[in-house]
């Protein structure tokens, strides 16, 4: 049973309890027409019928209604119609907004009028009708208000469903289908039920309107120019909505419509709801007020989608630059390899020469090859020099941002959990002061650095891998500790010496590429690092300088 249904049934049971209690009060308060015990006995069939129909809807709800009125009329039959008995008679009418099932409403008032007629000694009076009418109107207003919020709730639910299932890039338009369904099932006014056929969202971008997404594929559109200008120049977007603007979508006239405008942090969005058969400006306001908060939510979702798209674009642009660098390196390799033909052949010919197997003509060829080799050598060296000297490195960690320890912690944990089952960590910092400080680092550089180290940790460590976060007055210290296999001690000590020394970098450039990358990233981020070896424990210690956090609340 859904929560909604459970709530309704609970209210229904509660209401019957009120009827019974009120009924008991009336039995004791007024002179009774029948013997007292008849009234108490009447509770039994009343409850019996109710209990058998409470969990069903449809026809059963009519049975419950008739059941209520039979009981009520029985209880107050023969008694004067005073404020108490009148209230008792009105209970079903007052409670009607809580009832499930809406076909009951006519029946409810008919039963009510008929009941008064019965109790009024079968005399009809127009006051019955006036009273009924008054209650009907009040109930109608309450009912409409409930329906209004129910509709907003349904529309919000569509967005929730969508967010749960479909928040995929470039698919936010899928939420429109759900919304169209809800809109087309709203029974607000009996005589005004327009058919919603399309929802289209436009973005205002630098004084132009461009299409953002839509429930149908749109290849062409024209919108009234005056309207566009008005929206672009509008200062206050709070209650901006329009009806029946001149609009053509895919060469089809879609001028039966209404427009809603939303402002997010960075953009303005226009939502167009296209109606099929008719569109009345006045009655559209009901739908417009329903959709105001909904379109605001969708704007936010689109905004997030766009942020993600932009991030992706930035990443791809970055990657592209690096890709071209790699391509150039490959091309250079290809060129170099071709040049080796000359060298290879020259070496081979030299063997003949040394063995005295060359005559005059051979020596001429040999000499030509030597010239070519010399030229190749020059070309090769130029190319090699160009690659090594290139300042257009594919990667640089010099762009620094301010990040809190939270960020460092999160980044390290994320990478760690890619390699290990659990995050073994020791935290020895004052967590209350974490937001007071930031450290300067480059997030890409940090990622590569940590990834490299942890990957190696996973490969070469024997056991007891742990990350320790600690601090001094001026620095955050992060150390990676683990136990290594004793037979690797020589390599580990060499690693330590290579890493810690500043004098071996030129040699490292030829030999140990991985360490050099780590060292150069640390250098570019101005983070100091040192490796310590104690027994068979190796520890990499990184020190990040603390900076005052300008954005902190401290």
């Amino acid at each position: 049973m859904t929560l909604q249904k459970f709530t309704n049934k609970t209210l229904s049971i509660f209401f019957r309890l009120i009827i019974i209690l009120f009924g008991i009060y009336i039995i004791n308060y007024k002179d009774n027409y029948f013997e007292c015990y008849w009234y108490y006995l009447a509770i039994i069939p009343y409850l019996f019928i109710y209990v058998n129909t409470v969990f069903n809807d449809g026809f059963s709800s009519k049975i419950r209604l008739v059941n209520d009125y039979l009981f009520i009329v029985f209880l107050i039959y023969g008694k004067d119609l005073d404020i108490v008995t009148a209230t008792f008679l009105l209970l079903p009418v007052i409670n009607s907004p809580n009832h499930s099932g809406d076909k009951k409403s006519i029946m409810l008032y008919v039963l009510f009028v008929f009941s008064i007629f019965l109790l009024n000694n079968y005399k009809f009076s127009w006051t019955f009708i006036i009273v009924t009418f008054a209650f009907r109107i009040v109930n109608f207003i309450t009912d409409s208000r409930n329906k209004y919020f129910e509709n907003i709730s349904k529309l919000n639910k569509e967005i929730e469903l969508f967010l749960e299932k479909e928040l995929e890039l470039r698919k936010s338009y899928k939420v429109y289908n759900g919304i169209l369904d809800v809109l087309n099932n709203i029974k607000f006014l009996k005589f005004y039920r327009p058919t919603f056929s399309k929802i289209i969202c436009f973005k205002i971008d630098k004084r132009k309107i461009i299409i953002e997404n839509s429930s149908v594929f749109v290849w062409s559109y024209t919108i009234d120019d005056e309207f566009i200008q008005e929206v672009i120049n509008a200062k206050d977007l709070e209650a901006l909505s329009y009806s029946n603007i001149n609009l053509e979508i895919n060469d089809v006239n879609c001028s039966k419509n209404f427009f809603l405008v939303n402002q997010t942090k960075n953009n303005r969005y226009i939502f167009v709801f296209v109606l099929e058969d008719f569109s009345n400006r006045l009655f559209n306001t009901y739908y417009i007020s329903l959709l105001q908060s909904i379109t605001a939510r969708i704007s936010k979702v689109i905004g997030i989608e766009n942020s993600i798209k932009n991030e992706n674009k930035k990443m791809l642009m970055d990657f592209r630059k690096k890709y071209f660098h790699i391509q150039n390196a490959e091309k250079a390799m290809h060129f170099i390899r071709n040049r080796f033909n000359t060298l290879d052949n020259f070496i081979e010919m030299s063997k003949d020469n040394i063995n005295g197997k060359m005559d005059g003509d051979d020596l001429k060829l040999y000499s030509t090859e030597l010239d070519r080799l010399e030229r190749s050598y020059k070309l090769l060296m130029d190319r090699v020099k160009a690659i090594l000297d290139k300042s257009d490195k594919p990667f640089s960690a010099t762009k620094l941002e301010d990040k809190t320890l939270n960020f460092l912690f999160g980044s390290i944990r994320e990478i760690w959990l890619d390699f290990f089952e659990t995050f073994n960590v020791e935290i020895d910092v004052d967590v209350n002061l974490i937001d007071k400080f930031t450290v300067k680092l480059n997030s890409d550089g940090l990622y590569i650095l940590i990834l490299d180290w942890i990957a190696n940790l996973k490969k070469y460590s024997e056991k007891d891998e742990i990350v320790v976060f600690s601090e001094t007055q001026t620095q955050y210290l992060i150390s990676f500790r683990n136990q290594f296999k004793i037979e690797d001690k020589k390599d580990i000590l060499e690693l330590r010496d290579d890493f810690n020394s500043t004098e071996r970098d030129k040699i490292l450039q030829r030999t140990s590429h991985g360490i050099l990358i780590m060292k150069s990233i640390l250098e570019e981020m101005c983070v100091s690092g040192v490796i310590e070896v104690d027994g068979n424990i190796i520890e990499l210690k990184l020190s990040f300088k603390k900076e005052e956090n300008e954005n902190s609340d401290f």
């Binding site: 290809h334 390899r337 071709n338 040049r339 080796f340 033909n341 000359t342 060298l343 290879d344 052949n345 070496i347 081979e348 010919m349 003949d352 003509d361 051979d362 060829l365 030509t368 090859e369 070519r372 190749s376």
Partner: protein, 130 residues
């Protein structure tokens, strides 16, 4: 014997071929260099050659690369002809299938010298008949 060599950086291998020609073939080879697939327009004439040597990366000016050229030759020539592939990187075992060739051809990986060329020539049955 006519040998067609499709190679766009011929100066890197020219001496190798010339020395090969002198040392093992007594100048009997007629070596012809074509830097691109377009420099030999009528492929039917290749039927007259004893061997076609094709470098897989022909120049960017060429409308066909090495594999493209081989495919076209396979389609154009009636009688099968000897082809030797020159390449700078190792080819996979299924390179013929992957590139739409009718069959596999002998492959010589660069860098090359005159002795490596001679070994391949021998395998292909191209010998000096004095």
């Amino acid at each position: 014997m006519k040998i067609a060599i499709f190679e766009n950086e011929y100066d890197t291998v020219e001496i190798a071929f010339k020395y090969l020609n002198k040392k093992y073939f007594n100048y009997s080879l007629k070596l012809e260099n074509y830097p691109s697939s377009d420099s030999f327009p009528d492929l039917k004439k290749l039927q007259d050659y004893s061997l076609i040597i094709i470098d897989l990366d022909l120049s960017s000016q060429s409308s066909l690369d090495g594999f493209g050229l081989i495919k076209k030759i396979e389609k154009t020539l009636v009688e099968p002809i000897k082809i030797l592939i020159l390449t700078g990187q190792a080819l996979s075992d299924k390179y013929d299938v992957e590139n739409g060739l009718n069959k596999k051809y002998p492959v010589l990986e660069k860098p090359i010298n005159y002795n490596k060329l001679n070994n391949q020539f021998e395998k292909l049955g191209i010998k000096y008949i004095g």
